[in-house]
Every structure is written in structure tokens, then in C-alpha cells.
């Protein structure tokens, strides 16, 4: 409770909570499209590419004002995307390769410049290394306002162009034929991506901000088959884990924010991959067990039906051994027979021999009626 109290009334914590929540909402939403477009790496490449922009902006202006640094970051991010596009178009290098090349070149350059800045007099106050791992506690009210405006614009654009993004993600060629210029869609998408990344830099850091884009989308996909639901879930996962992670980082032992957020995200992913209602491992396993059980049950019922047809009226009851031979499957057959008896489809006599009940006969008739061996 005290954390909730502080979240509302403590100036720093309120800024941290609000800033990272808003940041995550936009990042998770755009991240869904990024992963579905098969461009999971591009967020990471853009984020790393912003670092030299931050450093150069500082060198040119010696300003500590974050908004100047962020403009530098945005310019470098756009240059990074441009370079990736040029590499893909003009060489035979694929998008993974192009992302990797730009990521390392820009990040390397950024680190070089940061080291240089740290050796300058008065540089200790620059605090630019917060851009690498992120430091949520440095968020002030003004930053929250910037984040809020940018995320509002990003989410509004996503809603407005939802149809275009959806169609061009699923089938870019047909979307082009229908008259939507793919270059315009790609441009809007890239602009949104750069905006989300740039405003999140000093909070989450260049190294891990892509986690806020990719991980929630992967987790959300486990719960739904609808794009709209996936985008909303991803947005919420990202916002909530961003907030929790940054609060722990800001209140605890001053741990870096980016890694803390990733830890919380890992929890979301683990739960989603295990228990996700559409693709989770546990759910799939349960469905498979159910299918197998239904299959076993139906085969036993059909076997008893065959036996009933080939035997005299007096000889309707058969031992589990006989039935097992019929279905060529003896393991656990007694358990399945008990289940069937329990659900009233089979009758059992004192010597543990089984026969079809009236209800069982009707069920066999419906099975033969075309619903097939797998139907229930």
C-alpha cells in the first residue's frame, strides 16, 4: 500500500510510474506490428543507432536539456533506418544482416563519442551513460509531458491507420495493388517507431528498449487470434511491466531500469508461453490429452459395437482383455473403461466385464452417422 501511496504523492515516483506506463502503451502497440511484419530486429537497430545522435547533439550544444539530446537521437535513428533501407535495396544483404551492420556501426560510434565526451572537462555532469542502460529516476514532469504527447500521437496514428497497417502487414503486395502506397505506410510506421524509441531512451536505455517492443507482442500472441486484441494486450503488458520494472528500479537499490523492466517482462512471457489460452504449452497439452482420450473412448465403444454384432444376445459382456485386443491398445484401458462406465455409456457386471448401455448404443450410432472417430 505504501508504494501505491508514494506513486500518487511522491513527485519522482509519480513521474516514473506515469512516464514508463505511457511509454509501454505505445511501445507494445507498435511492437505488435513490428513483430508481425517480421522486423523484430529493426527496433533494436534503431535504438542502438540513436546513441551517436545523443552524443553529437551534446557535443554541438553542450546542452544537458534532454529535448535537445532527443532531437539528436531522432535524427540518428532516422539516418539508421535510411541506411538499413539502402543496404537492403542495393545489396544482396537481407534485413537481418542490414540491421546487424547498422546496429553495430552506429552503436560503436556512439560508444566512441561517449568515451571522448567523458574525457572532456566538466563532462562528469553530462550523465550521458544513462542513455545506455536507462535511469528512470531521472524522469521529471517535463519528460512525462513529452512522453504523453508522443504516445498520444503514436496511438492515435495507429488507430487511424489500423486498416492500412493490418492489410499491408498481412499482404503488402495486394495492399499496393489496391492503391495504398507501401512507401507511405512504411514511412509512417518508421516515424512512429523512431518516436517511441527516442522518448524511451533515457528511461529504458538503448540496449534494452527493444524488449518493450518485441517481448509484449510475443506474449500477447499466446492469448489471442485477433489482431486488435493482440495490439491492446501487448500495449497493456508493455505498459504494466514498464511501470512495475521502473518503480522497483527507482525505489530499490538504484538498479538500472532497463534490465529491471526486462525481468518483469520475462515473467509475462513465461506465464504467456505456459498458460496462454491460444498457444500456451499447457493449454495445447491439455487439448491433446483430451483429443487422445476421446479417440480411445470412441474406439472402445465401436469395438464393443462390433463384438455385439458378431456375438449371441447372451454374450454382450466382454473382459477388458478382449476389448484391449480389439483396439490393439492395452495400456490404461481399465481406466478408460471406468470413465465410460461413469459417464453411463457402458454397463459393467460383477466379473468386471463390460457392455454397451442403451446410451452407449445411441452414441455409437451418432458416431457412425458421419461425425467420425474424433467427434465427441
Amino acid at each position: 500500500m505504501s508504494l501505491l501511496y508514494e506513486m500518487i504523492f511522491d513527485y519522482t515516483l509519480r513521474n516514473v510510474a506515469l512516464g514508463t506506463l505511457l511509454l509501454g502503451l505505445g511501445a507494445g502497440a507498435i511492437g505488435s506490428f513490428m513483430t508481425l511484419r517480421g522486423q523484430s530486429l529493426i527496433g533494436d537497430a534503431i535504438a542502438h543507432a540513436t546513441l551517436p545522435g545523443v552524443a553529437i547533439a551534446y557535443l554541438l550544444t553542450s546542452a544537458k536539456d534532454p529535448s535537445v539530446l532527443l532531437i539528436g537521437a531522432a535524427i540518428a535513428g532516422v539516418l539508421g533506418i535510411g541506411a538499413i533501407t539502402v543496404i537492403i535495396r542495393t545489396t544482396k544483404i537481407d534485413s537481418d544482416g542490414a540491421n546487424g551492420i547498422i546496429l553495430s556501426i552506429f552503436f560503436g560510434l556512439g560508444l566512441l563519442l561517449l568515451t571522448y565526451i567523458q574525457k572532456l572537462p566538466k563532462s562528469s555532469q553530462a550523465g550521458l551513460d544513462r542513455f545506455i542502460f536507462g535511469q528512470a529516476a531521472t524522469i521529471v514532469a517535463k519528460d512525462v509531458v513529452i512522453i504523453a504527447i508522443v504516445q498520444f500521437l503514436v496511438l492515435t496514428t495507429l488507430v487511424l491507420f489500423f486498416k492500412e497497417f493490418k492489410s499491408s502487414t498481412f499482404d503488402p503486395q495486394s495492399t499496393t495493388v489496391m492503391g495504398f502506397n507501401q512507401k507511405i505506410i512504411d514511412f509512417i510506421f518508421a516515424a512512429l517507431l523512431v518516436a517511441v524509441i527516442v522518448v524511451g531512451l533515457q528511461t529504458v536505455g538503448v540496449i534494452l528498449i527493444s524488449a518493450l517492443l518485441v517481448a509484449p507482442a510475443a506474449a500477447a500472441r499466446q492469448w489471442t487470434h485477433s489482431l486488435k486484441t493482440m495490439v491492446i494486450l501487448s500495449s497493456l503488458f508493455s505498459g504494466i511491466s514498464g511501470m512495475i520494472g521502473s518503480l522497483i528500479s527507482a525505489t530499490g537499490m538504484n538498479l538500472p531500469t532497463g534490465p529491471m523492466i526486462v525481468l518483469v517482462l520475462t515473467l509475462f512471457i513465461a506465464i504467456s508461453f505456459l498458460f496462454g489460452s491460444k498457444r500456451g504449452v499447457v493449454n495445447k497439452k491439455i487439448a491433446q490429452i483430451k483429443r487422445n482420450r476421446t479417440f480411445d473412448q470412441n474406439r472402445i465403444l465401436l469395438a464393443l459395437d462390433t463384438l455385439a454384432r458378431s456375438h449371441e444376445e447372451s454374450d454382450l459382456y466382454h473382459s477388458s482383455h478382449t476389448i484391449g485386443l480389439m483396439v490393439q491398445h492395452n495400456q490404461g484401458i481399465k481406466r478408460v473403461l471406468k470413465q465410460l462406465t461413469f459417464s453411463g455409456l457402458l454397463l459393467v457386471d460383477e466379473e468386471s466385464n463390460y457392455a454397451l448401455s442403451r446410451k452407449g448404443e445411441e452414441f455409437v450410432a451418432s458416431l457412425k452417422g458421419g461425425e467420425g472417430l474424433y467427434a465427441r
Binding site: F161, K163, F170, S174, M178, G179, F180, S226, L227
Partner: protein, 253 residues
Amino acid sequence: MNDLNNIAIEVEDLTVAYHHNPVLWDIDVQIEKGVISAIVGPNGAGKSTLLKSILQLIPISSGSITFFGRSLKEMRREVAYVPQRSEVDWDFPTTVLDVVMMGSYGALGWIIPPGKRERELALQALEKVGMTEFANRQISELSGGQQQRTFIARALVQDASIYLMDEPFAGVDAATEQAILKVLRELQSKGKTLVIVHHDLLTVKAYFDHVILLNVHTIAAGPVKTTFTQENLQKAYKGKFSAFKGDIDEFTV
């Protein structure tokens, strides 16, 4: 009647090259309004490339393409494309109805979302391809034939005058093949023009009335009766065609 109005697609001197290797060389094709035309040729002949360059999905090195004498830009709404099934990720999180509704996006234009009317059009299209009961099915759960029908339904929603389809009969079951054929014939009876990349030489005579034999160059183009001959096929398949000798005539309609 003005001659221009009778030529649905005119391709002149079309050349396409990837990294300096010509994929299509000096293609000249005229397709009349209201015909069903097959693009036929061996693997690597440039069949899909021809469709894509007609639609300006890939850059062309030279040549011109017009639709009823106009540019694609002016005729966008009149041209629909059915890509190969394998060109999209069927694991995309959406339903059959939603994909079919995408056919209405072009008419809606930017930003405006689809509504009741578009939903209605999509349901009608699904009925035409016999997929009504699958409207709310996840696209990841569809069979190959159902995927193909979904794509055709999406094209129907576009209500274009020219349809370009890439291998709609590839890898579908017999029932789907007949269902698709029925839809194509219905489109033709409404005066629509259809250009279809086709791989099954044995059905060309039964399904199509115009054929383009392609192997980087246009080997021959014209009515199936006079163009789809042993001699032309030999030229298109460069002797690799011998296995089919004799079979073609049996399927003459």
C-alpha cells in the same frame, strides 16, 4: 466500337531484369476484354514476374503497360490481384471474414474503416466461393483449398473489371478447383477479363480461351485453339516437353 476499349490489357516491349539478368525480354501481349487467359510456361519462365510487372509491384527496365488504354494509376480500382497462397503468412492473427473484407479497403481509401456494408459484401463473396461456414475461422486453420477460396473471395469484394491471379489452381483439391472455375466463369459472363498463371497443361484447353506461352520471351499468344499447339509448347519448354507428347490432344475440347 473504339478499338482501345476492347483491349483490357496491353503490354508493349516489356523487359524486366534482376541484377542484369533478363527475366522477361521484349514482351508484347494484348488481352481482349472478357476473355480468360492462361499464362503458361516452364519454371523460371517469368510467369509470376509478368503478373507482378503488369501490376507495377516490381520495377521494369523498359516497356509500357496500359489497361483499356489508361495507366494503372488511373485504373487502380478496376484491377484486382490474387497472389500465390505462399506469398503471405497464414499464421497472421485474423479471421477469414476479415481477410475477405480487406478487398474493400481500396474503395474505402485511406483511414476510413470498413463498416456494415463492407461486411455484407464480404459475406456475399464468401457465399460465392462456398466458404460461408468458415467466415469466423482463424486463417491459420485453413486448408490450402480454403486459403485459395478466401483469396478469391477477397478479390470478388474488389469488384474489379480485370483480375490477375497467380496459380489459383495450384495445390487445391478437385472440389475447390471446380468451385474456383465456376466463379471464374461467372466473372467472365459479366464481361470481366481474367489473366491466370497456370501450371497444369492438361486443363488449359478446357478452362481457358486465350493463352500466353512464355519463356522469358513471348513464345506465342492468342486463342487457345490456334496457339496451344505441340509446336509452340515444344518451343516454350525447349524439348523438355516430350513427356507430355500426345496427351495434349486428348484433352482437346
